[in-house]
Symmetry: C2
């Protein structure tokens, strides 16, 4: 998409004489600043801004790389058709009145796509703000013409208004960028295309974007991961709550996405997920102007106790560490400054001089205990805030570690803050925000490590693939617990053995196959709560007890549930004591296969202690997933109790493989699965299987 971002020539279809109109603003922005050739198209004008105007693109003889279209919606299809004939490969459609505005608009958008496909045109929008390439002075948007500095940052936004706000913020804060893309309705070009292009673009070191929906989740993951391996991607997503989703639905018809799945998807693809607008803006500045720290150790340098205490509080809640300075650092600071306390925070006292800040900052940057520095400057009587800002600026230019600055106050520190912004030092109104930015930057290393090590353990189909494929065909017609349990077992998910006994004899014989003690349960589609009708007997130890239990169960059910049709009694292996878990796998509508692990039982529904993982799956990745839960503290050793986590990891791996290799499965859940104390084994006691075509059944 090189010609899209850096065209040699561009035309504006709908160039206008009226300075109030978008068609004028865009044309003016291009004519006045763009380094390439600009053509205007308007059937009822001859000249605008001293430029010749054409009746149609077909009249223009020169080659045109990009067309900007800003005419009424109903005229757009014809204009696009002409672009096609002219051989233009990229169209930026500013006009509104498409899928965002009801059924006829959606039809119109469909038509655009048909034309585009016919001619091989790529479309940005419709219903968008346009495109800016700051490096080429290309402002094909109706944003103000004064742009901030050129930096290696790319910005994209699905919402036009949010895009306008981001641009205005960038101008106000002197936050530079290279490309700005307003995605609008995303009829064709989406965040996926942008990330693919920017991953290879040496003019980009960082991408920042606002999205409301993601259509092809699996493709997005793949592209975002590839991008993240090279450069950070900061994302803010609207509609991350039920209320937000409702609000979004009336806005861009964004799809309701499972929020936890989305968070996991971002985490696993290395995306820096901003929680809100303040995060997005502040992280954009931090990632753009600071290098990435190598660890979580932050040094705090301050001239006041109070705000440093608050910064330390923030460190704890953000998981940032406050190591002690090394011996040499202490010595340098002690000998050259008025510092009162050289721990961490390092307190330079209320009368700290600009040189004290400089010397301390330089010493700390050399100290391998620290990966970043937060400077707090409280405007006290002797504090030369502007000079301190200048000293910090000098050090920042050579610094190889990130620096965060908090000038605390209002009027007295306004100028110092400006100095910081001009010198590309991330400056924060409150100390806790600087700590938060450091935390996000510090997490980047771990993420890249994780992505580099990632591997797919399912290179070849499971040896039992064919067998299971056949069984699934049978199960589709009528899944039963024995069948599902067989399928799971074939993929290394150990399930309790069962025998369906139709009479006393069969019940007794079952104990030859299944090692007692066993549990016996009535088998009937009509009975939901088996225990309540006396349909379950536990701890059966021998044949005599099995016969007795069979009779008792049938009797109970006949008495309590006379109308139920009974298929027999299930004889089932019993688990010994252990942890009750849920193991699940499902296909997410957007992101595809998702693996789930969590605590089972009544507690769990209250605690909601679970975690998710997305492909590619490996035992290591599954371990990371388990470790995200509180349950993992028990599983990986707690109070002397020993479980076998490897057995659990392998079981989950089997479940993951089952859903990845068999697209006909929509979801499969083993609940409860017991991770047993005694024999270090896991045993699933019940399972549910759902097929893609809404053929849902729960058995046993």
């Amino acid at each position: 998409m090189k010609k899209f971002f850096s065209p040699s020539s561009i035309c504006v279809i709908g160039a206008s004489r009226n300075p109030e109109k978008i068609g004028y603003i865009i044309f003016e922005n291009l004519v006045n600043y763009f380094e390439g050739k600009v053509f205007g198209v308007n059937p009822s004008a001859q000249e605008i801004l001293g430029q010749k105007i054409y009746r149609s693109v077909l009249e223009i003889k020169e080659k045109i790389d990009v067309a900007v279209i800003c005419i009424p919606a109903d005229l757009v299809p014809q204009a696009l058709e002409e672009c096609g004939k002219k051989g233009i490969l990229y169209a930026i459609i500013i006009s509104a009145g498409f899928s965002e505005s009801g059924r006829s608009g959606t039809e119109r958008e469909k038509k655009l796509l048909e034309i585009a496909q016919k001619f091989g045109i790529r479309i940005l929008g419709p219903n968008c703000l346009g495109l800016i390439n700051n490096l080429k002075n290309l402002n094909a948007s109706f944003a103000p013409s004064q742009l901030p500095p050129k930096r290696k940052v790319a910005i994209f936004s699905q919402s036009g208004a949010m895009g306008a706000a981001i641009l205005d913020f960038a101008c106000g804060e002197n936050f530079g960028f290279s490309y700005f893309v307003s995605l609008g309705n995303k009829a064709d070009i989406s965040e996926i295309d942008l990330l693919e292009a920017w991953e290879k673009d040496s003019e980009i070191d960082l991408a920042v974007g606002y999205l409301e929906d993601i259509k092809d989740g699996q493709k997005f993951l793949e592209v975002a991961k590839k991008f993240s391996l090279k450069k950070p991607l900061i994302l803010l997503k609207g509609g991350m709550s039920k209320a937000g989703n409702r609000a979004a639905a009336s806005h861009t018809a964004a799809m309701a996405q499972d929020i936890e799945v989305f968070k996991t998807a971002c985490f696993e693809s290395g995306v820096v997920l901003a929680k809100n607008l303040s995060d997005m803006f502040e992280l954009a500045v931090a990632f753009s102007e600071n290098p990435i720290p190598q660890s979580k150790g932050l040094a705090i340098i301050t001239n006041a106790g109070g705000p440093a205490v608050l910064a330390a509080d923030a460190c704890e809640s953000e998981g940032v560490e406050l190591p002690h300075p090394g011996q040499k650092t202490i010595q340098v600071i002690y000998q050259n400054t008025l510092a009162a306390s050289i721990k961490n925070p390092i307190d330079l006292r209320g009368d700290a001089r600009p040189s004290d800040y400089r010397i301390t900052l330089e010493a700390v940057l050399k100290d391998k205990n620290f990966s970043g520095v937060l400077l707090i400057i409280s405007p006290q009587r002797m504090t030369e805030v502007n000079k301190i800002a200048e000293e910090i600026s000098k050090v920042k230019k050579k610094a190889k570690k990130p620096i965060y600055v908090n000038f605390l106050g209002g009027k007295m520190v306004a100028e110092a803050r400006k100095i910081c912004r001009e010198n590309q030092i991330p400056s924060f109104t409150y100390p806790e925000r600087g700590v938060r930015a450091f935390r996000f930057q510090a997490e980047r290393n771990a993420v890249v490590d994780f992505l580099k090590k990632e591997r797919d353990e399912f290179r070849e189909p499971h040896p039992n693939f064919e067998k299971v494929n056949q069984l699934l065909k049978v199960a589709f017609l009528g899944p039963s617990y024995p069948l599902i349990s067989k399928i799971l077992s074939l993929y290394n998910v150990p399930m309790a053995e069962v025998v369906l006994a139709k009479n006393e004899n069969q019940a007794a014989l079952a104990l030859k196959k299944i090692k007692p003690p066993v549990v016996m349960k009535v088998c009937s589609k009509d009975i939901l709560h088996k225990t309540d009708v006396g349909g379950v007997i536990l701890g059966i130890k021998n044949k005599r007890e099995a016969r007795l239990a069979f009779r008792k169960i049938i009797e109970n059910v006949k008495r309590n549930c006379p109308e139920a049709s009974v298929e027999g009694v299930i004889v089932m292996e019993m688990a010994s004591e252990g942890l009750e878990l849920i193991l699940g796998a499902k296909k997410d509508a957007v992101f595809g296969p998702v693996l789930m692990f969590g605590f089972g039982g009544i507690f769990v529904e209250l605690i909601k202690d679970f975690s998710l993982a997305l492909p590619p799956f490996s035992q290591e990745k599954i371990r990371q997933m388990i470790l995200k839960t509180k349950a993992s503290k028990i599983i990986y050793g707690y109070r002397g109790k020993n479980y076998n986590p490897e057995v659990l990891e392998k079981t989950l791996l089997g479940l993951a493989r089952l859903i990845v290799e068999h697209p006909q499965i929509k979801s499969i859940e083993v609940n409860p699965a017991i991770l047993m104390d005694k024999n270090n084994q896991i045993l699933g006691l019940d399972a549910k299987l759902e097929f893609e075509k809404d053929n849902q059944q729960k058995l046993c």
Copy 2:
């Protein structure tokens, strides 16, 4: 303390000729602006700023209400002595060099207090910034002389630097106040004195403070509660984490306080606890300029989808509701504006006019579905941001509901933000911050209700008070489970019955007293893990089994633990199945009695699902405390299971009463206590009692 805040005359001891010195700045601030009389004291000067200077306060003939002392620390005691002789009742000691600076400083501070006590002087500081009464143009501080508008807001800060930052912030943001007090070392005057005075002061509608420690927690609670019943108190506390506490310790020697206890204390006394500096500043503005909303229903008015979606996301995470507009509101907006979507958020479209905002805002303010409004203005092409700010300002003047404004962006909205600040409209850089401010304001109602209804159920001592007092004396010499259990039972905490059997016969006889099945456990101080040495046998149903169990336990212990001294075997009542809980009560070093409730067992240590309560105790309050835990969802009905919460509430009330009425108890814990399924009863199975004088023992 009327004369302290509004003195008629004031003297500066240490008035200086050197414009760089604090003694000059303060003297100048007073001479130039203060409405009352000002005197300067300095033995080596005759005239400063055209004012006669005295060698000592004793030379001044007029009456003096307040002395400001800013001379070297070692000279302060003598100056204070002279203040006493002169009959001055309030001294503001700016000088540093006291308890904040090591042992000799602490000694010096002690001496100050002795002098103060002798003469009845109240001291502010030492080591503080001073005092400002903006209403009287009294600036007895070395803060800049240009002060923001006069408003009914009082500010206090324990940290001087934080105080300076707050003042500078107030000046920058045009945030008005009446009093500003820098507390410094709090040798005498503390936040308690301020709140007591301000509660009755009609010039104060709101107090905002920064604290690092609270010495007399119980008194603070009492005063804060009384204050909160009338006006909001916003508090930010430094050192709310382990890291922050360590940082604070090197700063003001602040006491390490149990963070959860502190949070509960604030909650119960109606304090608005800010989480960080951004909270403190933004909430100060919101509470100062907005009325209190009557419910949690917020309306969002916007001209852009994206930021409104993000605001809705924030509503969900802050627990703010987004009700639908009423029929009439919809009609008014539909007929008079260009609104695209009249749900909530109300979307006025990108080309919304200032009048659209005004009309919609007015309609929404009249709608009883809403208690507050958030306005989002994204600077789009047609958006007249400044005019919108002016329209909002007009409506705000008459509004009886809170209004929060978010002009989104940078340069283009800077002027509009200024208009908002000048017209006392809380304006936020990001929409999520406005939502958060609304949430805190909306919680204020519930808090006042809660405080009004609060009552103490322990008006007279428990009928068993004397009996328990006697038993505690015995227990102090050697607490045993039977004794502790007796004490608890006498205060309505049901404990499992026990008999200590010294031989087989006694074990068998015990079953006459305790209804089987029973549990039998070895009784020995030397054995920690009774189960591991075969010292516990469960489910003993009759005398024969009791004899057998006695023999078996003694045998096991002799074999596995030959050196242990064994007192006998305890025969104990068994609980039926139920929930395992922890019930505790302790004396906090700062806040006094604290009641604790939580889930028991291994899960709990992982989940940390517990809640606390402070006096006064009532069954209603204890219910609120239980309801704060996740455990309460099970206790108050879950999945058809029924427990008896009242039994639990009454048991906790008994435990609370025990610690409140018996000061010799430091802590008492019943763990586990079983809330049983079947008989709707609760039963404590073990208990631990600790006396105030470190006489700790655990029995059984």
